[in-house]
């Protein structure tokens, strides 16, 4: 055992009774801070993962926009399935009710394989559409009902009424993400080509990547293979503002929860300052024997870690345990009609654990350093005369 460790252990033991209260508070504070941060981050991760999987379930992992053939893309490694599409702002109408929507014409044969969302009914065939549940609710429609669909931008200029196509609702989907359930209407490519008269071909192809295949490397391979006229975007690129908002939310959570650490750090600094005052003479003796300033700092820092570090480790372990138990047994329920899952999702990534460890250790280090700095620089003769 190195001597600084030995001295800090003995100093801690001898001062435990005097600074029991503030020492305990700093320990509990660090523990609560670690626990709260781990639980909050894991819940955020859980919901983020849910949102990400829903987004990917709706849009795929990558989107190639522009004139490109399906065969050209399908040859590449790592692709699970591709979905060619045409997309246009259009209108759905039921009597006097009109709603501006995104008409998305897709290869209906692949629809159930590509899209990963609950669908009541079936995929659309010719003259059929699949609409979101919010839109169905607004229009008061259900599976089997009919609506009018048209694309104003594709109508030729001139006099007369805009031609409208009557289509049957073959299915109603529910994603519960952003405004997708209110905005999107799926139809077949056959109907799309008829409706979007001004379009010369596909708008692009959505790609779902094989599990565990690196999306970035496929994106790179696509960029190498395809011409510069096409755009390749990941689902993160397509939802940049949402992804950024989630990152900000995560940062905000970390900053706010760090305040718990800050309060615990104040307690720790107070406890260590109290010990420092009690140990001035002993520090003077050590310095007279040749102990350098850095060693005195190390002793105080070790005392800080000895107190608050135990709390931090306990909070850390409890947080991980709660996450594991929740994932295993689903102790905390959430309404499944809103989230499509029964229990609160909790996911922990290694980087979050490192973040919590880093922040808790940083606060302990800072509090101990500040508390020990003055003590380490005390003049030896003054320290030796302390209490005389």
């Amino acid at each position: 055992m190195n001597w600084e460790k030995k001295v800090s252990k003995r100093f801690s033991e001898s001062s435990r009774r005097q600074v029991w209260f503030s020492g305990l508070f700093s320990m509990i504070g660090m523990g609560v801070g670690c626990f709260a941060m781990i639980v909050s981050l894991s819940v955020m991760n859980g919901f983020e993962t849910l949102v990400h999987s829903k987004l990917k379930g709706f849009e795929g992992d990558l989107r190639v926009s522009g004139q490109v053939s399906e065969n050209e893309i399908s040859e590449l490694d790592g692709i699970e399935i591709v979905m060619p599409f045409m997309e246009r702002r259009g209108v759905v109408e039921d009597g006097n009710d009109q709603k501006v929507v995104s008409l998305k014409a897709v290869d209906v044969a692949k629809m159930t394989d590509f899209y990963n969302f609950p669908l009541r009914g079936k995929s659309p065939e010719i003259s059929e559409v699949v609409i979101g549940q919010d839109l169905a609710y607004r229009l008061g429609k259900d599976v089997g009902d009919e609506i009018m669909v048209y694309s104003p931008i594709d109508q030729s200029f001139g006099f007369g009424l805009t031609p409208k196509t009557k289509m049957t609702i073959s299915g109603i989907f529910s994603t519960r993400i952003l405004d997708y359930d209110d905005r999107f209407v799926f139809l077949s490519l056959h109907d799309g080509k008829k409706l979007f008269k001004r379009k010369s071909g596909l708008d692009g192809i959505d790609i779902r990547v094989l599990k565990n295949f690196n999306v970035s490397s496929l994106k790179y391979n696509l960029a190498q293979k395809l011409s510069d006229s096409v755009t390749i975007q990941s689902w993160e690129d397509l939802n940049r503002s949402l992804v950024e908002a989630m990152k900000m939310e995560r940062l905000g959570t970390i900053v706010i929860l760090s305040l718990i650490f800050l309060v615990a750090a104040f307690n720790l600094a107070a406890a260590l300052s109290l010990i420092s005052i009690q140990k001035i003479k002993e520090v003077g003796i050590l310095k007279a024997m040749g102990a350098p300033i850095e060693s005195i700092q190390k002793i105080i820092i070790r005392m800080g870690f000895n107190r608050a570090g135990k709390g931090a480790i306990c909070g850390f372990i409890l947080g991980i345990l709660l996450t594991l138990v929740q994932n295993q047994f689903g102790l905390i329920p959430i309404p499944s009609d809103i989230y499509f899952i029964d229990a609160l999702p909790m996911v922990l990534f290694p980087k979050d654990l490192y973040t919590v460890i880093f922040i808790s250790f940083l606060f302990i280090l800072l509090a101990s350093f500040i508390a020990g700095r003055k003590l380490a620089h005390t003049q030896i003769k003054d320290a030796l005369q302390w209490g005389k």
Binding site: R10, F11, E13, E282, I285, L286, A288, M289, P292
Partner: protein, 225 residues
């Protein structure tokens, strides 16, 4: 003349208390040879402790030069001063200043721990035996008598085999019997280990052990004829 282990030249030291300035040491000069015992006698408040603090680098002089083992103290940074205090100087204080959290043997070992040297428990046991404290090695300072604590402090000062031992009124807190015992011990150490000792005291009887005896009066040092 032997090899000089400590040389103080024209040291001045004063303390300021608001408007008044109290001069404690004036033109204080002292040479200490290897193996020499120097005693400095003076009344309480004459500046003996201040002088020893400066000679031991525990305090800084306002003016003058100090060299220990041939090295100028003035040019050293805090780390180098710590090394000097650990390797070249052993301190024995009036109030023993043992660490209450550590046993006698641990107190003695502390300078070697700080030094980062290998475990030198054998030397510590040897020293504690020489001090007649073998039975008390695992006792804590609070379990030792005043005389025993002083002897532990002496053993601690000798642990790193320093060339210079500075003893600030080591007998000040002891009864006559224990004081004589400690002084005999210091004399024996000087003979056995050939360490230079600078000892301050206000007791003329104790001052007699010095190869050279000095008086400190009004901040000035003068050698006894």
């Amino acid at each position: 003349m032997g090899e000089i282990i400590l040389q103080a030249k024209n040291i001045d030291k004063s303390f300021s208390n608001g408007k008044t300035k109290l001069s404690v040491l004036k033109d204080f000069s002292l040479d200490v040879d290897v193996g020499q015992i120097i005693t400095i006698m003076g009344q309480s408040g004459s500046g003996k402790t201040t002088a020893l603090n400066i000679l031991g680098t525990l305090d800084q002089a306002d003016a003058g030069e100090l060299s220990i083992n041939g090295k100028q103290v003035h040019d050293m940074n805090e780390t180098e001063l710590s090394t000097i205090r650990n390797r070249d100087i052993g301190f024995v204080f009036q109030f023993h200043h043992l660490l209450p959290e550590f046993s006698a043997i641990e107190n003695i070992l502390m300078p070697t721990w700080i030094n980062g040297a290998d475990d030198r428990r054998d030397r510590a046991l040897d020293l504690i035996e020489k001090m007649g404290l073998s039975e008390r090695k695992d006792h804590f300072p609070s379990q030792l008598s005043g005389g025993e604590r002083s002897r532990v402090a002496v053993a601690r000062a000798l642990m790193n085999k320093p060339k210079l031992v500075l003893a600030d009124e080591p007998t000040g807190n002891l009864d006559e019997k224990n004081a004589n015992k400690l002084i005999d011990l210091l004399g024996k150490i000087n003979k056995d280990f050939h360490q230079a000792i600078v000892l301050t005291t206000h007791n003329p009887k104790i001052a007699r052990i010095g190869h050279k005896q000095f008086f400190l009066e009004n901040g000035s040092l003068s050698e006894k004829a």
